[in-house]
Amino acid sequence: MIMSFFDQFLSPSFLGIPLIALAITLPWLTFPTPTNRWLNNRLMALQGWFINRFIYQLMQPINFAGHKWAMLFTALMLFLITINLLGLLPYTFTPTTQLSLNMALALPLWLTTVLIGVLNRPTIALSHFLPEGTPTPLVPILIIIETISLFIRPLALGVRLTANLTAGHLLMQLIATAAFVLITIMPTVALLTSIILFLLTTLEVAVAMIQAYVFVLLLSLYLQENV
């Protein structure tokens, strides 16, 4: 029996070294670099195809000055998607369930987009606070709302990723415990619970990939406004 359902999110350490160190370095090891050969192996072909399609899709709405960010977005996307998917394996630790990591990723990148906008095109950056066509009496309130919405963006980015992954892992653990306990008492209900667990795992795989994508997509949107 699990002592407490939140124990899975504690950062485990062995001989003083935290497992998070391995969990963060492993994504970089699973992506080999292409060599000088014309045709590399199958893994490289898959990887190259995925990265090219993704970055083409992401950079389409952004103007040319924003294309400097392509490498950063690719790295971020690969990092998040690998960490999320690896966390679905048994006994592994998911670093993105820790709010500290997600805020450390979200806050500096958001701040960069804002600073780029404010330093290069201050008038246009400020003009984002007032959408076109608002009625005059609403203007003061709307500016306050837009300011709040701007400052809440990094918090939302970090917390969204954390909450989605934490909730998913927690749900899986709860339903698995329920199925495990029920199997001796009511086998049919345990079977139903197992089916729910299977569906939930499929959802978790999807969520892992979608959340990574959403993170990078929103950052690209913030960039698009400001660059």
């Binding site: 029996m1 699990i2 485990p12 062995f14 391995l22 080999p32 590399n40 690896l86 630790f93």
Partner: protein
Amino acid sequence: MLLEDWAASQVTQGALLKMADRPVPVMEKRLMDVKLGELSRWITARDFTPNGILGALRRGHNRYYNKYINVKRGGIGGVAMVLAGYVLISYIWDYDHLKHERWRKYH
């Protein structure tokens, strides 16, 4: 000097000079060629500096990569072995915490 004396002795004895028969210092042998008695000397002579460890990790990575992944028709086996190893290492890393989660009547 040592090599020439040995070669001269081999010629006088009429033995064939094979590449594998020449004496090699213990430090440069591969692990499978080291005799049991020389094992402790071999281990202490290895390069444990950060650069040495990095070099060893890189060599290991290249060996695995070139054997299982960088092949014409690689399958999921290459990646699956890495993931299985990762699961195992995570289990061992976390064992002190996991041993409390066994099925027990009273916790």
